[in-house]
């Protein structure tokens, strides 16, 4: 696992690789914003890039790609509720009594 010095040395290379990719994606996301895409497209592009950056930070820096079941379980539960929290309130505001469908 990651407690073994030899393993850790190999990980250092992946940390540097991820660092490089994060820089690239940062420049990409700023560049994409300069194109003034339509709002839905702009949001999609920005969030996809952010999600990719985030996955790398989580998977490699936070070692999440080799984590234990208990952690995955807790995080999966959190993800479900996170999505609920993010979308249900605004959905309920968009659906009004008296508003024609």
């Amino acid at each position: 696992m990651h407690s073994d010095p030899a393993e850790v040395k190999k990980s250092v290379r992946s940390y540097m690789t991820v660092f490089g990719m994060l820089m690239v994606f940062t420049i990409l996301t700023v560049a994409a914003s300069k194109f003034h895409l339509a709002v839905p497209m702009a949001i999609t592009v920005a969030l996809v890039i952010a999600a990719m950056k985030g996955s790398m930070v989580a998977g490699v820096f936070m070692h999440l790609s080799h984590e234990k079941r208990a952690i995955y379980g807790a995080l999966l539960l959190t993800l479900v509720f996170f999505i609920v929290l993010l979308f249900i309130p605004v959905l309920s505001m968009m659906d009004h009594i008296g508003t024609p469908k």
Partner: protein
């Protein structure tokens, strides 16, 4: 009192207590920032118009690069301990601390600029959510810096007495720090670019 699995892992879960603890804490933080992102979505969808280009993309990008770099130095600070190089560990931890300080200084300049133009949190819902989210995020950076200062200072003594537990604590600090970086990775495009 010797609490089991503080340092060694429990066989059936493969975890030591602190690792599970910090991940649970991060889960709660996901919900905290999630609520703020949800508020952002709700307020923006409900707004007849939403400002664009109010924030300095340049400063935001610089800060993004700084924070990502600090994430790398943080993970290297832990990796150095695992490779038994305490000196390198301290250098990397100090680098992380200094990079965070630069981030906060940049934020200070950013805030001052807006405030001098009367663009405080009271100015509009956009600035309200901007200041609140980056402010709370900034407080988390400050919190992380305090923890790092502790491990650079009085806390470093544990390396001599219990190197494994010290490494675990640095790992936990690192997990927290990467999370702070993760939040910014989403905060930056949402507030600055969209």
């Amino acid at each position: 009192m010797n609490i089991p699995y503080t340092v060694e892992v429990r066989p059936d879960t493969g975890l030591h207590n602190g690792k599970l603890g910090i991940w649970l804490f991060l889960a709660s933080e996901v919900m905290l920032f999630g609520a703020l992102f949800s508020s952002y979505i709700l307020l923006r969808v409900g707004a007849p118009e939403w400002p664009h280009g109010e924030l300095s993309v340049k400063l935001g990008t610089i800060n993004t690069i700084i924070l990502i770099s600090s994430s790398v130095t943080m993970v290297m600070a832990w990796a150095s301990l695992k490779m038994n190089d305490f000196g390198k560990h301290r250098l990397y931890l100090l680098a992380t601390f200094l990079l965070s300080a630069v981030f906060l200084v940049n934020k200070y300049f950013e805030y001052s600029e807006h405030l001098s133009k009367g663009e405080g949190p009271w100015h509009s819902t956009f600035f309200a959510i901007y200041f609140t989210m980056t402010g709370l995020h900034g407080l988390h950076i400050l919190g992380g810096m305090i923890v790092m200062a502790y491990f650079l200072g009085p806390g470093a003594g544990m390396w001599k007495k219990n190197p494994e537990q010290f490494a675990n604590r640095i790992e936990a600090t690192g997990l927290y720090w990467h999370f702070v970086d993760l939040v910014w990775i989403f905060l930056f495009p949402v507030l600055y670019l969209l």
